[in-house]
Every structure is written in C-alpha cells, then in structure tokens.
Symmetry: C2
C-alpha cells in the first residue's frame, strides 16, 4: 500500500483553522488562492504517492553505503531527487526571484508533511537544503545569495548543517572547529563534524556545507562561534564547479532507522584546510544557525506528523483486513475484522487524534510565520512572530514525541505481524525514534520553551494563547446550550477548560519559580512542553469540532469523522492535562529525587 | 558494560514486600532460607554477568540463521545453554524429584529477571521450557512426566508452545491443525504453526513441541482443541532418541528485535504425519495451554522488568560519563555530567521508578503463587490463587508496556548516540517491542482482566486489593503526622488515595456496565489495566517507602534512594491515575468514535 496524502484534511486545516484565506490576502502571497493551493496539494500528493513513497521500504532494506569517502544512496533516490528538483518542489516557499514558487509557509508545510510521510529518509535532504536557503536569505551577502540560492532551489546542489562535534552535541559552547583567515577574505577550516545528515551523497553535483567554527582569538562559549559556507566543490566566478574542497566523509553511521539517509562524519582540513567564507558577521554564527535551526525544528515537527499519519494509514488498512475474534457485544457469531474491536478502535483513534491535533497545531503555527513575514502592519508582524516562536518548540517536541507513540501503537495494531520487518510497521517505529533527538532533543526544546519563550516575557505570550482558548470555551458552551448532541460540546468544553487551567497554573509556576527554584522548573520542562502540546492541540481540535458541526451538512462523512476524532481527543488526550500539572507544580528543588547523589544511580 | 543484577533491591523486595520469610515457612520451601536465597541470587548474578550478558550484543549482530531446515543459533549460545543446564538454572522452581531445586516461584522470579535482563533472546528458550514443564506436571501422565520432565530440567531437551497459525493469532478458536488417531494411542498431526519461539535450534539434543490441534469430529471453536506432545525426535522406551519426527522448520522470521531467538514456522505432517500423544483429556487443550500461558505470561512480565532495568543501567552509566552544558541553577561554570541536569534525572527516575514498581508488583504476585501452591490451608490457597490470577494480566500487560517506554527513554538519555546501533541502547528498544505482543497482546490481557478477573466475581478480588491499599494509606497518614519529612508521606498518601479511588471507580464502572455496555467497557480495558498497574505498583512503592523509612539507619544510601524513587513514583506516575479514570468512565457505547463507520478510517 502506498501513501495517500490526506488532502481533504489538509485543506480543512489550512482553510478553516490556520487562516489560509487571510494569508493569501497578504502582499506577495496573492498566488495562494484556493484553486491554486488545491492543485498544488493534489499534485504533491500524486508525486509523493507515485515517486517518493515506493522508495521508503527500498531505502530501509538497501541503505546508503560508504566506500572510500564516497556515499552511494539507495536505489532510485538519485532519480527521484532529480524529479523533485525539476518539479519545483524544493522551491515551494522560496522567493520567485531565485527560482522558487513564492508560496506561503502554510502551503509548503502541507507539502513537507506529505514528503516526510512518503519517505522520511528522502525528505531529510530537502529539509536541510531549506534551512541552508533560509540562512543565506537572512544573513548571506547578495553575492552569496546569487551564487548559491538558485542552485539549491533547483536541486542541482544541496545544503547541510554542521553543528555537532564529538564533544559538542546539545552544548554548542564546546565547538572546537577552527577557521583561519587567509587574508583574501577566505578562511581555512580544520576540525571534525559528526551526525551530518546528507553530509555526503551522490544525488547532486555539489553539497554546500554550513559550518560552525571559531576564528582565532574568538571568545569562549557560544559567543565566539561564526558561520561559514564550505562547498564540497569550490565554485568559480561564473558559477561552474572548480576544485574538490578539503572536506571529506570518513564514515557514515549504522543507525536504528532512517537508514537511507546518510549520516556523515566529515573531516575538514586534513589536506591543508577546507576553504570557506564567512556568512554574515564574525561571532554571530549561532544567531544565524538558529535561523536554520528554527526552520529545521519546525520542519522536524512536521516530520512527526508525517510519519504518524503514515503509521496510522498502514494500521487502519490492516485492521480492516485482518479477521480475528467475535465482537464483544455479541452482534456477530463469527470472527470479524479487528477494526470492530473496541480496543483496536481506541488505538487507531489515538493515532489519528494525535496526528490530526499535531497537524492542526503545526499548520496554525505556519500561518503565524507567514503573517510574521508578510503582514503590512509591524505590530502584527511582531506579535505573530512571538506567537510562532512560542509554538516552534511545542510543534517540534510534542509532534515528535507523539510520533514515536503513534508508530509504536501502529506495531501493536498489527500484533505479531508488526514485529516482522517485512510487514513494514516496524520501520516507522525505528525511523520516528530519531525525531525527538535531532535538531535539539525534547529537553532542549523544553529549555527553549521555559527560558526564551516563557520566562523572558513573564509568560505574556502564553497568556495570550490561554485567553484565545478561553474564547473557544465560550463558543463551546453556547453550542452545548443550543441542544443537539450537547454532551459532545460540553465534554470538550469541560476538558479544554481543565486543560487550560492546568496550563495556566504551570505557566504561573514557571514564571514565579524560574528564578528562585530553577531545578524544579527545569525538572518539569518536558512535562510543561507535553502539557502545552496537549492543550494547544486540543484547542485546535475544539475549533475543528465547532467548524465541523457548523458545516456538517456539506460533507456528512468527513465531518462526522472529524467530530468523532475531536470528541476522542477531549476525553482520551486532554483528560491527561491535570495529572501532568500535578507532576510539575508539586516538584520543589529539594525533592529527594532532584538531590539524590550521583552514586545512587 | 555488562549487566549488574540489582541483588540488593531484589532481596529487599523479596524479604520486605513479597513475604519470602512467610513463603519459606510453607511445607516444601524449607530450603528458601535467607542465606540460601542470598547465595542463589549472588551466583545467578555472577553467571548472568559473566556468561549470558556478554552474548546479548553478539546475538543481535549475528542472529539465528536458517538453512535447509536447520537453525544455527548465535555464536556462544549453545555453550552458554549447556552451562545454564549444568548449573541447574532451568530447575530452580521445579520439583526435586525430577531434578529441580524445589525453590519458590518467588526466588525463581528474581533469577528469571536476571536472565532476561542479561539476554532477552537467550532467556526465551528456558522460558518456554518452563511452560512445558508446568503443563506436563499439571496434565501429563506419570509416564509422560518421567519421560520428559527430567530431560527438560537438565537442559538436554527444550520445550515449545505451538498455538498460533496464520489465521489464528489472538483468536485460537480458528486453529485448524488436525490430529488423527492411529489406533495405538498415538496421533498424526498435520498443519502449519507460526511464531514458534525456539521452534528449531541447535542448542539441545531434542525439542519437545506442545501443539494445539483438533481431533476428528471435535466441536468448533476453542472447546474442540486438544493438546499434544510432539517431540522433534521420537523417544524410545528407554528414553533414548529414535527417528526424526515429521515436524520441520520451513523458515524463521526476520524481526525488529530479539534476533538471536529463532521464531520458526513449523510444518507438521508433510511426510505422512507428525507423531504425537495427547496430553490430558481430549478437547481440554486450551485449559492446559492456559497453564503454560499463565506461567509464560507472568514470565513475560518479568522480561519487561529485566529489559527495563538493563536499559536503565546503560542510560545511568552514560549520564554519569557524558559531559555537556552547565547546570541550570548556576552552581558550576563549566559543563557537567548530564546526570546533573534536572530533565535527565527525570528520565532516569522515570525509568527506575517504573522498573522498581513493576519488580515489586511481580514479585508480590509470585509470592501469592507460592502460597496458592503450598499453603496448608485450602481457603488461603484459593484466595491467594485468585489474587495471583488477578495480577497476572497486570504484571504482563503493564510490565511490558512500560518496558517499551523505559527503553525509549533509555535512547533519549543517550541523545544522538542512542540512535547509533553500536551504542547498544537501541537494541533494548527493538527487543522490548515484542513483549506487549507475544503470549497475548495487551488487549488480550485486558480482556482477561475485565472478563475472567473482574466481571466474573463482580469485582470482589479487586475490592480486596483496594482495601489493602487503603490500609497503607492509614499507615502513611500516621507516619506523616509523626513529623520528620512529613511532606513525603503526605504526598504519597494523597496520590495513592486518589489512585485507589480512581481504580475503585473504574472497577465499579466495569462491573456495572459490563453487561449493558460491553463496547464502552472493553474500549477502556487497556486503560483499566494501565491504571491498575500504576495504582498497584504505587501501592508497592508506598509499602517500600514505609519500610525504607523505618530501616533508614541500617543502610542510609540504599534507603535514601528507595525513598526518592517512591516519592518520584507518587508525584510523577500515580498522579496520572485520575486522568485515566476519566478517559474510561466517560466513554459510552454510542460515543461517536465507537460507532464511526469502518470507511471513515
């Protein structure tokens, strides 16, 4: 079974929840009209179904392979990447003047979800290239933009992010790679970078590495890091490829999942120094890298949604097909398809509710990014940017943690067959496991949520969102009072209100205790992130419920399913919120477990 | 790093929570005195550390391999199994008269946990053999016992359970394998069995298959199934091996994990019929198989505890070693070992609290099984058996589901290194994933908990346990009132009471709604199982807290760690209970998601 992109749900979320009509009214996004967007999504769905998705299993069974410094990617990947570039898919959100399509991030996010659902390993190459383009557009010189961006958008070249070193993972203060000025504006780089996704491959003519390194005499810590562009092949003034640069892939990793995606160890400068050029200003590298990272973090959240949906589709298909046991309510005397068993339904709806909630939240965030970028009003731009930046760690952290849970449930639905590799469900479980780790672990996202996104503004943005949730509760109460399936709306209102109150209490706890009791606050940071994901995802599902109710008659089957999924989210997912609150706010810094001596572990 | 069995915690649980002193006072268990048990556990720890644990990675990298009907096990496995048999480890809980050690199940459970922590794939062979021995001891004739049991205990032969067929997984009513009587008391079997653990291997001279099959004219469904013993090599009257029987391994599976354990497809009767003999009475096969299955289900719960502990040990060692980032409370200006970061602590304590809670609950259950077996008083035997049988699906379902969560956290603690196979953390994540599936999926355990264990007695046994929990709450309140760290005891009391009330409400819901609204009750069955695990595990941790407090001075470091772990369990795990209750009791059979048409998925 190939992957069928849920175009109908994507359009519903884009139009009804994430504000595509408003975004399409912003200057520069005039092309994003309903018919165009619909056509783009349908064509993306076709391309991913026919070209990309069939390579997913192939890549898992026949991974990228390293030999003498060269990496051969899985069969079919190179050809598919050529089609990807020629189809203009790399350029969806990038500027028209450099060959992109100039569409909103909102539309690009739906395309990104499809690509990742189709093939997580394949999708990583464009994902990193997107980050490279974004860094160049923000911090690159005009000459650098002209030199690199069109080739990155066309798919002739690809991009990478080089942060990690053996001793510097989450902690970039420990980066040691050196960049020595050559007096002609260029630098020579020396050092080892690890975990470089598509750091070497055979799918494009050149690879453009974006590398964190220290210049001589730079301050210690993150304030002494600069960003360099280091192409695999040097680029001549006319744009043609020159000499091979001194950056070499010395090995690739043997991984649990995403096996088709080569994870490279790159050695810089073993033969005299890898030639690179500074991007932007010296010592501002981390700032620029954060541009790439924020884009990449958001995209990784979308990867979570994509792989979760793929796992759901596979499990649902199996549950409709596999016949086993009679129904518990005695409505049949023969064994039935297992989708009729209540627990199988609970598992499938858990997968679906989490996926739809995370999709809605991530698209909602993308719509804010578009407003932050294109709104004519500066105050609106600033406000939308703050909201978007608050949501990024949640989209990334929650969207990826839940993808592991969903993929695990996908195996469980298959029973013993799920454990057999040939079935395919296990690949999602293996592939998804990297998502809560790379581009910043969930703990790093949670640190960001606590530190930069909550403590820095005293919880102001969080409270803006809480107030918006309270407004939806009022709508739900009004709808419940009007009769007709009132219990559904009242149940959602009750759980959403309890979730909002739990989140409000936690925000208060973070803001008030961040200074006096940082250990307690950071001990609860991942739980805070999870709570925020559940409540904000539940908010989007509540909004979906109200729209589905109002539009029910226009597409009864689709909206009945949306109502069912929203109701499930309320009673089965949102109901966890108060328990998470308790686990956070009851912790204090002198709790036994926070002060337990290291030897006790 | 090899595996270090937590002998001290095991002895604490055995002696202080699971009632080893009482069990050792029962007739037949006189040998289970403290010094003996301590010595057995220390020797088991040494054997598993030195001989079995080092083969775990080897088996994963060089799995069992099939060729022309024969299975070659991983390097070193055959030799280790010989030592296992010679050391008497297969015989720990089995009768002295057949060559066993006659020790209580309680002691055997600690040994089983060690073996599984050391090497899940290896441990499966003895696990299945234990089930075979138990079935023979219960339902085999004296001649069958004499023929098979001593060789199974000595490790000369091994045993298997043959239930599953391609169309009959969870639903054994669909079993089709035929057994035709030959007139001489023997039968010829014809059919295909799949997912047969150690169904073929090279570690023992003979393999004794226990096979579910139908005799001619047998009723449809589970009431027409009989149990047969079918040895790989026929056994002559003098016990020597005769001809090769007509059961052949046609392939083994390519699996996500436990790769060293061969999972066989067995073909019976392709060359004229596999010769077998009936065990016990015709048509009672499922009943006898349940004896094996109950033993195996309990043991699989122990597998969950074992692999969880192994994952914890590896993650804790890494967290002490890996230096990254400065502490959030500003107590150091340099990067520190990550175990000092609050979120890493939260992950490690989650792993540890779940593992210790599940260990305590499973050993507690084993102690009940010993009383059910050996108590001189029949009423006590019956009562303990009912309690044990109530706990089996919880030990299996909860203990295995949490092992997946713990193994996943183990990867997360390692960050990017966790995703690299060489690190080893990923193996636990892959291996553990089978545990909530085989020997009955979590849904099957939950059906058992709802149907046979709760509805059948109107919740009587559940209420007995709830009353025992309430007694511990009284002790906690008294301890809190006596001052000195009162907050810890009051927090545990509060969360335990809330958990007990949640569980009581769910039991009431199951009992009252099981008849009128079975779909709603079974929709919540897995959540009920999870809730029961959390509350009953929390109950054991509360008991541990009280003992640790009273004995604190005798071993300050050990008991301080136990108190910290118990406190963590209260605020971080037990606190989830009320949310789970809501997700169960608010579901009704006409909920949108229970009645959503199949096409909507």
């Amino acid at each position: 079974m190939s992957y069928q992109a849920p175009v109908k749900d994507m359009l519903f979320v884009l139009n009804e929840l994430a504000g595509l009509p408003d975004v399409a009214a912003l200057p520069g996004f005039e092309d994003a009209q309903p018919e165009t967007v619909h056509a783009v999504l349908e064509e993306s769905a076709r391309f991913n179904r026919e070209v990309i998705a069939p390579l997913n299993v192939i890549g898992d069974r026949d991974p990228s392979a390293w030999r003498e410094g060269k990496v051969t990617t899985s069969p079919g990947f190179g050809n598919a990447f050529r089609q990807f570039g020629e189809g203009g898919w790399q350029g969806v959100p990038h500027p028209l003047e450099f060959g992109g399509q100039g569409l909103p991030k909102l539309v690009a996010t739906a395309c990104t979800e499809m690509l990742n659902a189709a093939n997580l390993s394949f999708a990583l190459c464009p994902l990193l290239t997107d980050g490279a383009i974004e860094a160049l557009m923000t911090a690159g010189s005009d000459e650098q933009k002209a030199r690199y961006v069109p080739k990155l958008i066309s798919g002739e070249w690809t991009g990478t992010m080089n942060l990690t070193e053996p001793q510097a993972g989450s902690d970039l203060a420990l980066v040691r790679t050196r960049a020595e000025p050559q007096g002609d504006g260029s630098f020579k780089l020396f050092g080892t970078k690890i975990f470089i996704t598509y750091g070497e491959h055979d799918m494009a003519a050149n690879i453009v590495h974006f590398v964190l390194a220290r210049t001589p005499g730079a301050p210690e810590g993150v304030k002494g890091i600069s960003l360099f562009v280091v192409p695999k092949f040097l680029v001549n003034a006319d744009g043609s490829l020159g000499e091979r640069n001194d950056v070499h892939c010395v090995s690739i990793e043997h991984k649990l999942g995403i096996k088709a995606s080569p994870t490279a160890v790159l050695q810089y400068g073993d033969q005299g120094g890898a030639i690179g050029h500074l991007i932007g200003e010296e010592h501002h590298g981390l700032e620029y890298m954060f541009i790439m990272m924020n884009a990449a973090r958001f995209a990784v959240g979308t990867q979570g949604v994509g792989v979760a949906d793929r796992a759901y589709q596979k499990a649902a298909a199996y549950a409709k097909d596999r016949v086993q046991s009679r129904p518990v309510d005695g409505t049949a005397r023969q064994a039935v398809a297992i989708i009729h068993h209540p627990d199988v339904r609970r598992m499938l709806l858990t997968m679906r509710a989490l996926t739809e909630g995370a999709r809605a939240l991530s698209y909602y965030a993308a719509g804010l990014a578009d407003r932050a970028h294109a709104s004519p009003d500066e105050a609106t731009r600033r406000h939308c940017l703050a909201l978007y930046e608050f949501l990024v760690p949640i989209v990334k952290g929650w969207g990826t943690e839940l993808s592991v849970e969903v993929a695990s449930l996908g195996i469980q639905v298959h029973g013993g067959m799920g454990f057999i590799e040939e079935t395919g469900a296990a690949q999602y479980y293996r592939d998804a496991r990297i998502l809560p780790i790379y581009e910043g672990t969930t703990a790093i996202q949670a640190n960001d949520l606590v530190g930069r996104k909550t403590l820095r503004d005293g919880g102001a943005i969080a409270k803006t969102l809480l107030a918006q949730i309270a407004e939806v509760e009022v709508e739900l109460a009004a709808r419940a009072a009007s009769g007709g399936d009132a219990a559904t709306f009242e149940a959602m209102r009750k759980h959403l209100a309890a979730g909002r109150e739990a989140l409000a209490n936690v925000v208060e706890f973070v803001v008030s205790q961040g200074e006096p009791d940082p250990n307690a606050v950071f001990a609860g940071s991942v739980s805070y992130l999870k709570l925020a994901g559940i409540v904000l995802g539940g908010w989007q599902m509540a909004r979906a419920l109200l729209v589905a109710d109002a539009k029910r008659a226009s597409d009864p089957a689709f909206f009945a399913a949306k109502i069912a999924t929203a109701a499930f989210f309320a009673s089965q997912v949102l109901s966890q919120a108060p328990g998470i609150e308790a686990s956070i706010v009851e912790t204090v810094g002198d709790d036994h477990w926070l002060t337990l001596p290291v030897d006790a572990f």
